[in-house]
Symmetry: C2
DNA sequence: TCCGAGTCAAGAGCAGTGCTCGCGATACCG
DNA sequence: CGGTATCGCGAGCACTGCTCTTGACTCGGA
């Protein structure tokens, strides 16, 4: 871990600032050329420095990408949280719709970063541990929603076969015990519906299929709300 | 269009064979290194020729990729059709489950090709017209299913708001008129659920969430069948 | 105040990439 | 048989990520 306090020396301050400049420039390039087109040399050129100097701040291109991924997860999380926070707490359906809308808006605004999060993983790249915390931030919203739904008595105890129950073992670790299997499945499927719809839209797979994606998305998420017993 | 008949001259035959060899070698590399790692020079090396010679057969790397995409769409289509064809025609639910299973199996077997179809599009790459026919092959299965469902009287006429109705204008061109809006939405959402689930699984996003993906997928697709009124 | 230790940007260089072009050799066809 | 179109080859351009050395700078302790 680097220092959490403000940098004391001029050198440390310069380092922190330059690191941030590199990240910002890289993100700008990412937004234009996509992940595959992100070039360390181009970033260095923009900053008026030589390519090898970048390696003083990021040991490899993948590490720079990792940083961008973490930032993207946090940005998406913030966007979703911000949208969801504006809805009255008791309006669970409204909170779901706001979350979905916030996620979609962010994705459409940052298509390449969306691809970084939910698209094809980069070649030999394995998501390091640092990314899983920010990644779970968005899903945390949904989990909170599920817990409140159950607490507020939205009883939905459709029985679940044993094999399906077992498949939830891992996810059980981060969800309150009282939430029934049935509700977890509804939540996972709603989440998949959301990520899938946005991914297909961002990748242009709806281009020749749907006209007026706003209305389509809205209606789909309303139907998904019904599946969540929030109808 | 190239000639549909068998090539007459030795040169034409050699050209056809070598073209196929290039595609096969490229697909092998794709399966190992992914789309970003596909190198024309490496393919040429494997074939014992010089890199520039490849350009006699494919004008650019993107054109080779396009060919791989088309082949992948067709392979996925065949896999899905093959799985679906083994179910008794009258068993609509079974046909849906078989299709879903076939799609998933193919995706897990060819993760990089799946990423080519439903993952992040490559940098400056715009899917050429040639890809849309094979792409719609898979969705054709679902459309046929929807039409039969409606014909067999699985009435599901939940009214759809006007804005949502309008968003279906384009897709209406390839679906029998009699199929109601409600059913189209169910179909699109089921399709999104399928593609989304497989994409998330292929990209490893379920790794720390679900244990026993087979059972999870099966249960999710059964629930989706219920949403399709095939319960 | 001075001086050693740590940090930094720079530059050359390696191995790899997609792609272009001119050169001969060769197979095809009128 | 002769002209033409096709083919593989090799050199070369501009680019990439990354490594290593070199010389200059800053900082903190004596």
């Amino acid at each position: 871990m680097t220092d959490t306090t403000a940098p004391r020396t001029a050198r440390a301050r310069a380092r922190a600032e330059l690191t941030q400049e590199i990240v910002d420039t890289a993100r700008a390039h990412l937004a234009v050329d996509g992940a595959a087109g992100l070039s360390l040399r181009a970033v260095a050129r923009d900053l008026g420095m030589v390519s090898s100097a970048i390696y003083r701040y990021f040991p490899s291109r993948d590490d720079l990408l990792t940083r961008l991924i973490i930032d993207a997860y946090n940005a998406l999380g913030e966007a979703a949280e911000g949208a969801e926070a504006q809805v009255r707490r008791g309006d669970l359906r409204g909170r779901w719709l706001a979350t979905a809308d916030g996620v979609r808006r962010w994705g459409l605004k940052h298509p390449h970063e969306w691809g970084l999060l939910y698209g094809t993983p980069v070649p030999g790249y394995a998501a390091p541990q640092d990314t899983i915390d920010p990644a779970s931030r968005v899903t945390g919203l949904l989990i909170a929603l599920l817990a409140e739904m159950h607490a507020h008595g939205a009883a939905s105890n459709t029985p679940v076969p044993k094999a399906a129950h077992v498949s939830l073992t891992k996810v059980r670790a981060v969800i309150p015990e009282s939430v029934p299997d049935d509700l977890i499945f509804r939540g996972l499927m709603a989440w998949t519906q959301l990520i899938g719809t946005v991914t297909l839209e961002v990748n242009g797979q709806f281009d020749n299929v749907i006209s007026g994606m706003d209305a389509y998305f809205d209606h789909v998420m309303r139907r998904t709300a019904v599946s969540l017993r929030l109808g």
